[in-house]
């Protein structure tokens, strides 16, 4: 705490800067700013704004990958087609299922791990290694590792299931369980980021708060229930929203582990879009689907921005 620092008499810089000899005109003053902004802005326009506009425009045309140009104007028919297609509906449904399966464990386990790790002074590096290292590894490595673990009959999971007296299951080959397998691999892979965010949040809680609670006779459980959980409310909001956004964008794990199968059982929004765009060559329809997903994600991201700003203003 630095609030008690006595104010030393210091030589302060003059409050107002000395008047300039010649004041540059507005244009002269502003030109360097635009020059500094230009390189980034050009890339921003080329690869964020440009594709977004192209996506919106192409969603209104019968654009195809095999022909150049936009093709014929289609109005809203691409949207009508996409929203009416059972495979798009089920892909969106699977995306939501994946989000529902991964968000609670990724938030709750990360919270528990962080609270427990925060009480242990020594060996923090070990817990960071165990929980966080997978997060920086490529999804392709993760997928190879987990497909092997889930391998029917010979995989590690079946061996462990045998030890525990359970019936071995072919997780990724079973339409009812494939998404659970992908979810498990994802929880393992990405919990590290939430763990680290919660640890950072815990470090911001002044130790005095807990000391005071301990003096008042609060048990560790009471401290967690009445102090830690409410004090980490902001972090939880952040983690949940980040998690939902990340889950809606799931592509890698599905593409690598099941390619959307078995059948269509794990087809998600982005694998649907890639399939329609790159395999069926129907850019217009893929763009319409992209716009739908884009809008959903932007709405949640905007809610997150708004909430963060609101909480910052209140804090």
């Amino acid at each position: 705490m630095t609030t008690e620092t006595p104010s030393l008499p210091r030589t302060r810089p003059p409050a107002t800067s000395p008047p300039r000899a010649e004041a540059p005109t507005a244009v002269e003053r502003e030109r360097p700013a635009w020059l500094f902004l230009a390189p980034f802005s050009i890339m921003y326009l080329l690869f964020l704004v440009g594709p977004t506009i192209y996506m919106i425009v192409a969603s209104l045309y019968n654009t195809s990958l095999v022909k150049s140009g936009l093709g014929t104007f289609a109005g809203l028919s691409n949207y009508v087609e996409v929203l009416g297609r059972p495979d798009f509906q089920s892909a969106m449904g699977h995306t939501v299922l994946f989000t529902v399966l991964t968000t609670p464990p990724l938030v709750i386990l990360a919270f528990v791990f962080a609270v427990l790790a925060n009480r242990i002074r020594r060996g923090q590096w070990f817990f960071r290694l165990a929980f966080f290292l997978p997060f920086v590894l490529p999804s392709a490595s993760i997928a190879l590792i987990w497909v092997f673990i889930f391998m029917p009959d010979t995989g590690l999971l079946n061996l462990v299931q045998g030890w525990l007296g359970m019936t071995p299951s072919a997780v990724l080959a079973d339409p009812n369980w494939a998404m659970w397998g992908i979810a498990a691999a994802t929880v393992w892979w990405t919990i590290g980021i939430n763990f680290v965010l919660y640890l950072a949040g815990l470090q911001d809680v002044p130790r005095e708060v807990y000391e005071a609670a301990a003096i008042d006779g609060a048990s560790p459980w009471q401290q967690i229930r009445y102090l830690t959980i409410p004090l980490l409310g902001r972090t939880t909001t952040l983690v949940v929203l980040l998690q939902i956004i990340a889950s809606l964008k799931i592509f890698d794990q599905v593409f690598l582990m099941t390619s959307g199968g078995p059948g269509q059982a794990t087809q998600v929004a982005l694998t649907f879009i890639a399939g329609v765009g790159f395999t069926d060559n129907r850019i217009g329809v893929a763009s319409a689907a992209s716009v739908v997903l884009f809008v959903v994600i932007m709405l949640i991201a905007a809610a997150r921005q708004g909430l963060t700003r609101f909480q910052n203003a209140r804090a």
């Binding site: 890339m43 594709p51 609270v115 190879l144 092997f148 965010l197 000391e211 763009s287 884009f294 991201a301």
Partner: protein, 304 residues
């Protein structure tokens, strides 16, 4: 929000001071507290070991023969003759070297361009007064929210029109406008004292000199944080190179690994060895820069 989130969070890794135990806590509570600490330690160690299993299992499998690996998990577990055969096969075949090369070139080039362009933009937003500053700021905030993965089809079309498909540029350029980097730089620059540049300006230094010889040298921590985070992100990106690079010689590690499952078939030990080799550069980076990486992601997440 403190002026720089990056600097605000080093507490994560710096060992926190030991809890000052007050003797007046009362016997029962202290008893509670002690057993709670033991339980939490046991639980946490259990989960941490559980979390290590998949990686250790992949390493274990990569060290047996393909024949043993195809017999199943118990054969792998009880194998007593470890071999580096899979690694030597992979390292001699040459594919993995191509993938390493592509990943290294695209990652390093993206890092260089992102760090330069984003720090310049961050400098302008932090230090310069100009009309439209607010608009630029709002556009940047919107830019943070844009899910670039969803733009993969239009980005592909655009790269195709620019005749950049199957070049490294198709992986590099779309990843340069990482808006979050601009914010990280701006926040860091906002926290730097202005005294140095004021005296430099009196000496007649222009904005470029101030940016290049005063601000950047003071910004080593944030430069390395953004560099490492960008490197990891670009190295691990699957969806963009997957569709823009079809030439096997140009494939990055993730795209190359994505072909392994199909092309290696039953060579299960080789497959696990390739997963480990693909992850290896990042494991090394993690061990060298773990503090920066963790502070970086925590800072980005908090600000985001």
């Amino acid at each position: 929000m403190a002026s720089t989130t990056i600097q605000k969070t080093p507490g994560i890794s710096a060992a926190a001071p030991p809890p000052a135990r007050s003797g007046s806590g009362g016997g029962r509570v202290q008893q509670d507290s002690r057993s709670f600490t033991i339980i939490s330690r046991v639980l946490l160690i259990f989960f941490a070991l559980l979390w290590l299993v998949p990686t250790l299992w992949a390493i274990r499998t990569s060290l047996v023969s393909n024949a043993t690996a195809s017999l199943g998990a118990s054969a792998v577990l009880t194998d007593t003759s470890p071999t580096l055969h899979s690694y030597s096969v992979l390292l001699q075949s040459g594919d993995i070297w191509n993938w390493y090369m592509s990943s290294a070139i695209t990652s390093v080039a993206t890092v260089a361009l992102t760090v330069l362009f984003a720090s310049m933009a961050g400098f302008a937003l932090s230090r310069m007064v100009f009309r439209g500053r607010k608009v630029v700021f709002i556009l940047m905030i919107i830019g943070i929210m844009v899910p670039t993965q969803v733009l993969v089809v239009p980005i592909f079309r655009e790269l195709s029109a620019m005749h950049l498909l199957n070049t490294y540029w198709s992986v590099i350029l779309p990843q340069v406008p990482a808006v979050i980097a601009v914010f990280i730089f701006k926040q860091f620059f906002d926290g730097l004292p202005k005294e140095y540049e004021e005296s430099a300006r009196i000496d007649g230094a222009g904005f470029w000199r101030i940016y290049w010889s005063i601000i950047l040298p003071l910004s080593r921590p944030v430069l390395s944080a953004v560099s490492i985070l960008t490197f990891v992100t670009v190295w691990n990106n699957l969806i963009l190179p997957l569709f823009t690079l079809s030439n096997p010689k140009l494939m990055t590690i993730p795209v190359g690994l994505a072909t392994v499952q199909g092309s290696y078939g039953q060579r299960l030990a080789d497959i696990q060895a390739s997963a480990i080799l693909g992850a290896l550069p990042l494991i090394i980076i993690y061990f060298f820069f773990q503090r920066r990486i963790i502070e970086g992601v925590a800072g980005v997440g908090v600000k985001g």
